[in-house]
């Protein structure tokens, strides 16, 4: 257990970071698309329903063309990304989200699954940005 205890701060930070991230990210995607770019690392690798994209600018431009969306996060989980032989310091977080989404005027609820890798921003190490994002409609 000693090993896990030593990782306790990372585990807690990744959970808190994920909560903060999912709250603000899905609010932005539903209502403030103009701010989406700010969530991303400039080189973020994104795979959206099998379509690769690079960076928040590209993703935000893509999302501008989306019909209105209503995402509802139903569950999420987060883990720190640990690499043996490395010590201390902030690590990246992996977040997995499961939920429903409605597009446009449609009443239909689709299921989605989304996986993120969050990493400290290069300009502000206290802020976490999306380094990787994988999205699939799953229902």
């Amino acid at each position: 257990m000693n090993n896990k205890a030593s990782k306790e701060p990372s585990i807690k930070a990744s959970a808190d970071g994920a909560t903060k991230f999912t709250d603000s990210y899905y609010e932005a995607i539903n209502t403030k698309r103009a701010s989406l770019e700010n969530f991303y690392d400039p080189n973020a690798s994104i795979v959206w329903n099998g379509n690769p994209m690079t960076g928040g600018v590209a993703f935000a431009a893509f999302f501008e063309r989306m019909p209105a969306t209503h995402y509802d996060v139903q569950s999420y989980d987060s883990q720190p990304m640990l690499v043996p032989g490395t010590t201390g310091g902030p690590c990246n977080y992996m977040v997995i989200v499961s939920g429903s989404v409605k597009y446009g005027d449609s009443k239909e609820q689709r299921g989605f699954s989304e996986t993120f890798v969050l990493k400290p921003s290069s300009t502000d190490p206290n802020r976490y940005v999306v380094a990787t994002q994988g999205f699939r409609l799953v229902v």
Partner: protein
């Protein structure tokens, strides 16, 4: 495996090889160009734009001959040429009182043969043999041979200008070409557009139909996006040959031109044009757009393969009244300094957004045939960027083993810092049949780490298993499962490289599929079907072995597998070949096939392009060719042994050497 690997594809040419370009001299000293496209109306020299399916022809041209998986070479094109050689151009009756352009003969003047070792007759024979075009009414006049060629063939014969002939170069010119009248030219453009359909009238009707279908009078919007997927165009035989996309567009514009007689009419009728997702590398193929609609206000080139501002500069000034140019989804937008450059050119994202909000956002969202809103990108097949097959190999081993022997997976892939957690989404959308069935989650809830529900620090820590022992305990408390690996369609996975931490590369695998579970609460007879999402982050351990850094499982009610079925039909569930498949999807399919077969990139590309970019067909073709001994050893990546996969993801990854991550 680097962070640029995910940049939009198409700019690197890694996937497709272009035919042509390099000329070589054969044993007779004859110039043998790598397939000028002969009877297809000429490739248009310097035209770098290939439309849909262009990669196919490129790969074919790039490697042909013995040992090929599928008979190589553009057979359709060859048959076409043969016919012309034997019978000349099929005669066509007059239409609307004018003589069909295909009957018009154009004069070709051939010089340069005098300096050679050959005679005029030999020069004529040489050209006819090489071009497979019959030279008519040949006449020798001093050092010039004068011949006649049907108009549709003129560009093909002119491709042989500068051809090496008996120690000299032949010069070909058609001085009268510029004097042909406009009607003839436009008709020639149209007839060239569709070599599969010889009747120009039909072609015009088909193109008129396409324009009518794609014009939205309310929005004054002509939507020419995704032409490669157009049912009407396909039904009329467009895109059967790789070169026809670039020919089709000018023809479409000619038909549009005929519809509107005055500039005012065009100005009033069409304000916006979308050319999105046409696989355009530059804008040369659609130059005719600026001629037909010079007063256009909005133009979308979204989702093409435009790499360079230079590709646009020559073109943009032609549209003097253009207010909005959408370039998102082109490689040019990933270039450094794009935002500054866009601003300088008045394409600042803020301006774009403003205009897009005003002009593009429709009150109601258009819906597809399934009644669902159409999203700007379609669902694509598995995205797999797995250079050494690490991800495929892992997933294959993991899901083959998970049901029966979880302990051996823990030994093989999990170390002291591996993490596993499970979260249950009890309210996830589900299939219609599942709507009214009660779901039992009793065996999962006590272990679920859904952070939305579990807020105490202790609970969060306790439910995160670290190291093989804790993970074994957690897995041991979960119901027994059965994953069906045989149903390929039921599995979705995307694989790509990701930085685990600064300087340490890993591989992310995101999986969506289903399992059956023996649900004890419902009694031993009851088999419950569940869907799950599972993401694995793979990383090296201190010895460089592949280990799981993160294993995150979401269990939810059964949701079926329709949602990841590729919408362009290019996936395993798709029908025949010839679909418009994006470059990125092609690259991903190549990677997947390479991982499955151990083939080198050029062979994997060829195999896929020959089978219309359909994974299943490509796999079958590979097996067939392999069984026939048609694949030479050098077609494989070094050190590869190939075994037949036993299941959907039961594939043998290419046996890459050490240093995998």
């Amino acid at each position: 495996m680097n962070s640029t690997a995910l940049r939009p594809q198409g700019s690197h040419g890694g996937i497709t090889k272009r035919a042509g370009g390099r000329a070589r001299v054969d044993r007779d000293g004859d110039l043998d160009m790598d397939g000028p496209s002969g009877g297809r109306g000429g490739r248009g020299r310097g035209n770098r734009n290939r439309g849909g399916g262009g990669g196919g022809a490129g790969a074919r041209g790039g490697r042909s001959g013995a040992g090929s998986i599928i008979p190589t070479g553009p057979a359709a094109g060859r048959a076409d040429l043969g016919q012309n050689k034997n019978r000349g151009i099929p005669a066509r009756g007059p239409r609307n009182g004018t003589v069909s352009v295909s009957e018009t003969l154009v004069e070709v003047r051939i010089t340069g043969w005098k300096d050679s070792k050959g005679s005029a007759e030999e020069a004529i024979a040489f050209l006819e043999r090489k071009s497979r075009i019959k030279l008519r009414k040949t006449l020798k006049q001093g050092d010039t041979i004068i011949a006649q060629v049907p108009f549709p063939k003129i560009h093909s014969i002119l491709e042989w200008n500068d051809a090496q002939f008996a120690s000299s170069k032949l010069r070909l010119a058609a001085p009268s070409l510029g004097r042909l009248d406009v009607t003839e030219r436009s008709e020639a453009v149209i007839s060239r557009a569709n070599p599969a359909n010889k009747d120009t009238v039909d072609t015009i009707q088909a193109l008129e139909g396409v324009l009518a279908n794609r014009y939205n009078p309310g929005g004054k919007f002509l939507d020419l996006s995704r032409l490669g997927e157009d049912v009407l165009l396909r039904a009329n035989g467009f895109f059967q040959l790789s070169s026809t996309t670039s020919k089709m567009f000018p023809a479409l514009m000619q038909v549009a031109e005929k519809k509107f007689t005055t500039a005012q009419q065009k100005r009033d009728t069409v304000h916006s044009v979308s050319l999105a997702y046409n696989n355009l590398k530059d804008v040369r193929a659609v130059t005719s757009l600026s001629v037909t609609f010079p007063d256009l206000k909005n133009l979308s080139l979204e989702g093409n393969s435009i790499e360079d501002w230079k590709m646009l500069d020559n073109w943009r000034h032609r549209f003097r009244n253009l207010e909005q140019l959408v370039l998102s989804g082109n490689p040019v937008t990933s270039q450094q300094g794009y935002v500054e450059e866009a601003y300088r050119r008045g394409l600042d994202p803020a301006i774009k957004r403003k205009i897009a909000a005003e002009s593009a956002a429709p009150a109601t969202v258009p819906t597809g045939p399934d009644g669902r809103p159409i999203l700007p990108r379609r669902v694509q097949p598995r995205f797999i960027q797995d250079d050494y097959g690490v991800g495929m190999k892992f997933l294959s081993r993991f899901f083959e083993t998970y049901d029966a022997d979880r302990a051996s997976l823990l030994r093989e892939f999990y170390d002291a810092e591996s993490l596993f957690s499970l979260s249950v989404n009890t309210s996830a959308p589900r299939t219609q049949e599942q709507q009214n069935t009660r779901q039992f989650w009793d065996e999962y809830i006590p272990k679920s780490r859904n952070l939305k529900r579990v807020s105490h620090s202790k609970g969060r820590t306790d439910r995160l298993a670290m190291g093989p022992d804790e993970i074994a305990r957690l897995w041991g408390g979960l119901p027994a499962t059965k994953h069906d690996l045989a149903n390929n369609d039921a599995w979705s996975f995307d694989i790509w490289p990701v930085e685990v931490m600064s300087g340490v590369m890993g591989v992310l695998c995101t999986v969506h599929a289903e399992f059956q579970e023996l649900n004890k609460v419902d009694g031993p007879q009851k088999i419950v079907r569940r869907s799950f999402d599972r993401s694995f982050m793979l990383r090296p351990d201190v010895l460089g072995e592949v280990k799981v850094a993160n294993d995150m499982l979401v269990v939810r009610a059964y949701g079926g597998f329709d949602s990841w079925k590729p919408e362009d039909g290019s996936g395993s569930t798709g029908g025949g070949g010839g679909h418009e498949v994006g470059e990125a999807a092609k690259k991903s399919m190549c990677e997947q096939l390479m991982a499955q077969t151990g083939l080198r990139l050029d062979w994997a590309t060829m195999c896929l392009s020959e089978t219309g970019w359909n994974m299943d067909s490509a796999w079958k073709a590979f097996l067939e060719a392999k069984a026939n001994g048609a694949i030479p050893q050098d077609a494989y990546l070094p050190g590869t042994t190939t075994t037949t996969p036993t299941a959907a993801i039961g594939v043998n990854a290419a046996g890459g050497g050490g240093g995998i991550l």
